[in-house]
């Protein structure tokens, strides 16, 4: 279990995450929703020790996160950043292989088992054809999938994903949600951020709503994602939300 208590974290002296308490257990998928700039990414980065916490504590399976070495952290928590560009034209295989090797020392070399694991992950995500392609030349959605593959290759019990669906097409979004469900059922603890409430309904066992660095609601999707909460979360008049929901229903009927 990842357990954060009364956590304050941020870039400079001003904390972005303000007093958050959170648990992620193995075998659950937790969806984190909130408006732009509310501190979702900062929270994720604090949970994998990219940003040191200003105050509060984070424990992973009972051990203080700050006391774990970088390789020990990487063996327990895998992190999927938002997709990005790279200067060097590494192949997709090279990028995914980093998930296997990075925690194993400065001069680690891939073994046949590593190649087998990387190819298995690429096959699982339907990326086998991309293995030899340059990561820099891929589309945004493909790059995002490669970063997810790298995190899976890391084989850690906890997975933190920062807007994993943001650049994916509709089909790949649904496949990603299915994958997150499979990971949960396989006993991993998954935390992902999303801007789509429906994603949380599809796959999340629990939902956290975040606003201005604080949690305003936690619970099952049905409990906390009602009309009032969402309108409050995104600072929308309730009737605008209704309109959007009606449009969605209409689209569903058209299907």
């Amino acid at each position: 279990m990842i357990e954060a208590r009364d956590l304050y974290a941020g870039y400079d002296r001003q904390p972005v995450v303000q007093g958050v308490t959170l648990r992620i257990a193995r075998g659950e998928t937790l969806a984190l929703l909130g408006p732009n700039g509310c501190g979702k990414t900062t929270l994720l980065k604090a949970l994998c020790a990219i940003h040191p916490a200003h105050s509060g504590s984070i424990h992973v399976d009972g051990d203080d996160l700050g006391h774990l070495s970088a390789p020990e952290r990487a063996r327990r928590i895998a992190y999927v950043p938002q997709q990005h560009r790279l200067v060097f034209a590494y192949s997709v295989l090279d990028v995914v292989m980093m998930g296997r090797l990075a925690g194993r020392g400065l001069i680690a070399r891939p073994t046949p088992a590593d190649f087998a694991a990387v190819h298995a992950v690429l096959a699982q995500l339907g990326l086998r054809d991309l293995a030899g392609r340059s990561y820099a030349a891929l589309s945004g959605g493909q790059r995002q999938q490669v970063l997810i593959a790298r995190a899976l290759a890391q084989d850690a019990p906890y997975l933190l994903l920062d807007e994993p669906a943001s650049s994916l097409d509709y089909g790949n979004q649904l496949r990603l949600l299915e994958l997150l469900g499979q990971l949960r059922d396989g006993g991993r603890g998954v935390l992902f951020t999303t801007h789509h409430p429906d994603h949380a309904f599809v796959v999340a066992t629990r939902v956290v709503l975040m606003q201005a660095g604080r949690f305003i609601a936690q619970g099952t999707p049905a409990q906390c994602m009602n009309r009032e909460q969402l309108a409050r979360l995104y600072a929308l008049p309730a009737d605008e939300l209704d309109q959007a929901v009606r449009a969605q229903r209409w689209a569903q009927q058209a299907v």
């Binding site: 980065k45 994998c48 020790a49 990219i50 070495s69 970088a70 390789p71 952290r73 990487a74 063996r75 928590i77 895998a78 992190y79 950043p81 990005h84 560009r85 790279l86 200067v87 060097f88 034209a89 590494y90 192949s91 090279d94 990028v95 980093m98 998930g99 090797l101 990075a102 925690g103 194993r104 400065l106 001069i107 680690a108 070399r109 340059s134 820099a136 030349a137 790298r150 890391q154």
Partner: protein
Amino acid sequence: MKAIAVLAALLFGAAALSLLLGRYQPSPLDAALRLWQGLEGKPSELWTVIRELRLPRVIAAVSIGAGLAVSGAAYQALFRNPLASPEVLGGLAGAAFGAALGILLGHALWQMQLASFAFGLLAVGLTLLLARLVGQSGIVVLLLAGLITGAFFTALLSTAKYVADPYDKLPAITYWLMGTLSSINVPSVWLTAPLMIAATVALVALGHALNVLSMGDEEAATLGMPVRTVRALVIALATLLGTLSVTLAGMIAWVGLLIPQIARLIWGADNRRVLPASALLGALYVLLLDDVARTAFPVELPLGVLTALVGLPVFAVVLRRVAVGWSE
């Protein structure tokens, strides 16, 4: 790996050939006879020339070429910038100023070399200190600090040249900074070449760590890489290589920037291949151009000028294909 083996074989061949090449040139039959006699223990002039002059020079060319190219490749990965070169942290500018100061104040070659080495380390130390004072561990701050230090020592170098005796010291400084292996100090080669080769091998071994580091510090950390350790190690090794190359031969231009681009063009971006390929290619490049520098013309050309004159047109020709790997 096959390509690396081929490059290594080429380098050995070129080194062996370079030993037989030079101004003292007996006929091939004569040379073979004397080499044979040398193996039987009879001294000959040819053996003396090879042992005392050509061998140290070949070894210096190989270690400088390999060292500059591999530290350029390592810095490019570390700074996530294909335009980084061994001089980004100001070490070469510091070493150049140290050499000028040594020529200005000292008499013996070793004094100049010692001053060059010391000021090279001092400059990189100042860069790191400045970056630390700014208080951000980011790569950009480090680059800017290196820019400042480098420019500062370049200004100091100009000052040293300005006050130097224009008939004696100034030409010595200018000629040294053009980069040459002609006035090489043999004991210093035996002292530094093993260090440089060890540092080159150590950087080559860090290829996979540099791959991970070039994804960015944050990502490298979440993947389990001890970012600060790797960065410190790479900077220490590259600084040693860059500074020692200046102490041996002055400024050998453009090798550290160009050779890794060529290696990437041929073998792809993976640093596990780019680093060894750069080292071998750099060694071969400097060795062959030094052969040209000392044998092709009646007077010896400065090696550092040749490496630029040959390297830059080659770079210009392949620029379009090199840039393919760089995304905007």
